[in-house]
Symmetry: C2
Subunit: 355 residues, 2 copies
């Protein structure tokens, strides 16, 4: 079968021929429909993040997949059901995090990530997976099923942020998304249309006209150009916000988020910056956290429950949004286009089988 693989740091993705996988007991065999491309894929391709599977010199890419069950192989799935796979797998047998259904809370070394860390991904005509890691999705949502994984990451982030505010009465009325990449934009859509936050803002550093800024406008959100208004200036220029969702990976944003928050607010951090040293007013940062009961919550990955919530969220996103948001779905014969990052690109996917 055909698969899309990369030698991290030393090339661009290429089509390789690999044997069609045989499902082990407990696994189902899935025929891949579509697989999304995101920033993590580009970091893996560049060799900045991730790890090869033991003994392999290439990694099959892809962690945002949707497929159709080809062979349930005795699991409780049925042939023809549409499914989305979760990403993390236990490295050796299992461990406490996977046993309790919280692989997203496993520390380094206690997980593999398909298509990212030490395990092949889903960009292949077929993949196998333990049935417990396959989440059902209705047929009508299957063409957008590759959005379930990124949405699940935000489901977790928002769940953890809300939990941190659960000891008191907290009803967020305003939210700021840092970053107008695909994760930031789909989260903005969740905040605006599903969670019904009154006022939202989205920070980016792009000039109008730009399709991401059109999306921000169309969602009824306010675009904040970081070259004109820095994160700490947002309370003065706009308003202090109850919730910050950080998806830039810009190291200064973790500290600056505290300045953007309203009293009792929370910042959910999702970016993964490299080392970067700079000076901060640590006294002010510390004092603002304390005197205004603010919180910062770091969050990574997601578990099966978040994928299930994401399927529900996806069903509630307006069609006009997903139509504008997905700027390209490319067949295997033009799969390279899905990895291009031109100015008109928001979200792309590779299609292995037409739906």
């Amino acid at each position: 079968m055909k698969a899309i693989a990369v030698e991290p740091g030393a090339g661009t993705p290429v089509i390789v021929d690999r044997p069609r996988p045989e499902p082990s007991p407990g696994d189902a065999l899935v025929r891949t429909l579509r697989v999304g491309v995101d920033g993590t894929d580009h970091e893996v391709i560049a060799g900045h993040h991730g790890a090869l599977p033991d003994g392999d010199d290439r990694l099959v890419l892809g962690h945002e997949a949707v497929g159709i069950v080809e062979d349930p192989n005795g699991t409780d799935l049925e042939e023809g059901e549409f499914v989305v796979p979760t990403v993390r797998r236990p490295p050796n047998g299992t461990n406490e995090y996977f046993k309790r259904g919280e692989p997203d809370m496993a520390p380094e070394g206690e997980y593999l990530e398909r298509g990212i860390v030490g395990a092949h991904g889903f960009m292949a005509e077929y993949f196998t997976s333990p049935a417990e890691y396959l989440v059902r999705i209705p047929e009508r949502l299957a063409p957008l099923g590759f959005l379930v994984e990124p949405i699940s990451v935000s489901e977790k982030a928002i769940e953890h942020a809300v939990a941190s505010r659960s000891a008191f009465d907290w009803e967020p009325e305003s939210a700021l998304v840092l970053g107008n990449g695909s994760l930031g934009l789909v989260t903005l859509a969740m905040l605006e249309t599903v969670l019904d936050i009154d006022r939202t803002y989205c920070l980016g550093r792009r000039d109008r006209p730009h399709p991401t800024i059109d999306l921000i406008d169309d969602l009824g959100s306010t675009y904040v150009d970081s070259r004109e208004t820095s994160v700490p200036e947002i309370p003065d220029v706009h308003e202090p916000v109850d919730l910050v969702y950080e998806a830039t990976g810009h190291a200064k944003h973790a500290v600056e988020t505290v300045d953007a928050l309203a009293p009792n607010g929370v910042g959910a951090m999702l970016g993964v910056p490299c080392d970067q040293s700079f000076e901060i007013d640590g006294g002010r940062f510390h004092r603002e956290l304390v005197l205004h009961n603010k919180a910062l919550v770091g969050t990574v990955n997601s578990h099966r429950g978040h994928f299930e919530a994401a399927v529900d969220t996806l069903s509630q996103l307006p069609t006009w949004f997903t139509d504008e948001f997905v700027t390209g779905v490319y067949g295997l014969e033009e799969f390279e286009t899905a990895f291009e990052t031109g100015d008109e690109v928001v979200k792309t996917a590779v299609e292995f089988e037409s739906i």
Copy 2:
């Protein structure tokens, strides 16, 4: 009646004569028994924190009080009941935070603090208070009732920290208290004896022998001398910890806490540092938060529910601990001694009426 007041920043506390207060409707009149002294009092005395009541040039000190109801004045309290007053009061009538019983979540300008910000404290022979801000305490605990307020601050901090971890299975086995002042030590006792955390550590910068280090030893905790082991070194020298409780007000500790935490851990911040600029590796700070699902939660003050929980906690603290912890209770004739900060001092109180 006699009261202990100060001209913030311009003197030491003195005894002043003030009219005995008359309870308004809804207020009870309370005869003061004991009032604790803490770091906030010293900051108020030095003029670094707090504000005078409108139109006054002196502030009556004291926010850690216990008293006995002298005149219930038609409230549901009874004469002779022992009570501890909460600290925050609404500045003008009331507001949403006080209405829902969460004055601790009110932002600046939406509260006064008795003995600290814009309202006279409890270091007087009598005080009045709305009955809703008076928390009953059993007679046998009344001699230590001045510990209820500081314990309530930690009840809130721990409640908020635990809430931030409530979206997953979290059972903290290790905790680190930053600071061996009185708030740090009483919290260490809570963590060791009431919350039953397996392994605790307490950071200070004092030489042995010292009464606070004796207390740490006697609690079965491990003393960490910050001059030998910095906060980021604690995981290597001891272990990464599930919970950090910061009570130093040292600005670097908010950032360094993230290095001391185990994956999925949380740091509760309580100190109030002044502005202080320094360089950090912000990339590492940000990345550690994200990739290991860590959180920082700032927390200040406490509400009535936390005071009620604190009464329960106080009842569970071992007698040997409170005996060693309270190093002096001084009558009005020697009240100055309660404000001394010698090397043998851990926790002191002023006694207005012997129990």
